[in-house]
Amino acid sequence: MKTIRVNIQVNNEKNVLQVRPYETLLETLRERLNLTGAKEACSMGACGACTVVVNGIPVRSCIVLTAEVDGAVITTVEGLKENGELHPLQEAFMEKGAVQCGFCTSGMIMTAKALLDRKKRPTKKEIVKTISSNICRCTGYKKIVEAVEEAGKKMA
């Protein structure tokens, strides 16, 4: 089957790729660009482990075709670091111990990043609502919410 040419900017790097029409963004990121931060868990768009930010919006990359995001600006968890310094969210997740098995973490951080980018200092209620989009089955969310609050303070 004919491949499709797409231009995507991932973590400030421009990529011109020939992708399969039925290739998901998650497959492109993990298998072509070797960005394995976004995880495949449910593969049905339910859990949020594969969340990346596309044009400022958190998107579940396992149910999005790469062809759909032609021309988009994409940030994955690998692109959060700036000049060798971790993003405040990454710092806060470590400080607060918001990680146990870590499988949901990159999705959590990317969902939270999209929230903090569109809203300075969100309330705890807003954070809980946003973060409840993602499933974590070990920490119980308390420390994750605390970490996002902490990062929100630092970024404001």
Partner: protein, 316 residues
């Protein structure tokens, strides 16, 4: 899970999308947000030869107030953007609440109102992998000759799980469909076929382009039964919209189509009557994570709860 092979087409206009559909001899599927379609394709429940992306069609992205007293919502407007539209909040509280109750925030940002209305019906024994379904045997909805939930049944009992169609129906919304044979506008409650194998009476190739809502202020509420409040499809959902002493109620999440009820002279007696009627009409079967009898009882309870909240009486 790896997707099967299909072609991808990006349509720039509705006419172009319909032409692509024609090229693929009816074996293509339209794609908007993809939150329903892509999982269905992954599970091999839908096997299109091509996917036609409608997301870049500009004319489907707008919300506008017409002079004729309608709010026109393009089918590609995301649930999140529609929820945050000030007109929706002020005029249509039932719709605001159902949008807010749909899935989770991330999926609201991706899913569109058109796609939410035209989502496929669901069943615990249908939305499964191909291997699982082969082991169990195909049901009516998969092209088989039996129902895996109700033995000896002659029909499909899958559930229509849009939260927003019931609230739009209480608001007397209409939908515009454009297809190979021209365009038509129908009342939303008329697009359901009652057949689980193809739950919508939408012609092959037709695209839902607009939702038209009469621009009249209403009071309203939406009550939803689900296991996890943060996500999940409705196991029953009741929308109520009221103008003055009369209103409309609509129940979704149970059976193949939402069911509409007229509410006249709302008072304690008529609320009880309506709730009894919804309870009697609701015929859930054991095809969700909750028992059928619980969902049946909750159908009536959710209606009372919604009406009382509209009337600001609180939950008794």
């Amino acid at each position: 899970m790896i997707l099967p092979k299909f072609e991808y087409k990006k349509a720039k206009s509705v006419a172009e999308a319909v032409a692509f559909y024609h090229d693929h001899k009816g074996r293509a599927r339209y794609l908007a947000g993809g939150t329903d379609l892509i999982p269905l394709i992954k599970l091999r429940l839908s096997t299109p030869t091509a996917v036609i992306d409608l997301k870049d069609i500009e004319e489907l992205k707008a919300v506008s107030r017409n002079n004729g007293g309608w709010l026109t919502v393009g089918a590609n407007v995301t649930l999140f953007n529609l929820k945050n539209d000030p007109v929706v909040r002020e005029y249509f509280p039932a719709l605001y609440e159902s949008l807010d109750a749909t899935s989770c925030e991330t999926l609201q940002m991706r899913g569109t109102i058109g796609g939410n209305i035209l989502q496929d019906t669901r069943c615990l024994l249908y939305n499964k992998s191909l291997e699982w379904r082969i082991a169990r045997g195909f049901c009516y909805k998969m092209g088989g000759a039996t129902c895996n939930v109700v033995p000896n049944a002659k029909a499909c009992f899958s559930n229509y799980c849009s939260d927003n169609a019931p609230s739009l129906i209480t608001l007397s919304a209409q939908v515009k469909l454009v297809g190979p044979r021209g365009e038509r506008t129908v009342e939303l409650e008329k697009i359901f076929s009652g057949d689980g194998r193809s739950p919508f009476s939408v012609e092959p190739g037709e695209i839902l382009t607009e939702i038209l809502i009469p621009l009249k202020k209403t009071q309203g509420a939406y009550e939803k039964l689900r296991v996890r409040d943060s996500m999940d499809y409705p196991l029953a959902g009741v929308a109520v919209s009221v103008k003055g002493a009369a209103g409309r109620a609509c129940i979704g999440g149970i059976g193949l189509a939402p069911r509409l009820y007229d509410l006249k002279n709302i008072n304690e007696i008529t609320i009880k009557e309506a709730s009894d009627r919804i309870y009697a009409d609701a015929k859930p079967v054991s095809n969700t994570v909750l028992s059928a009898i619980y969902r049946k009882r909750m159908a009536g309870a959710l209606l009372k709860k919604a009406i009382r909240r509209v009337l600001k009486e609180g939950w008794k």
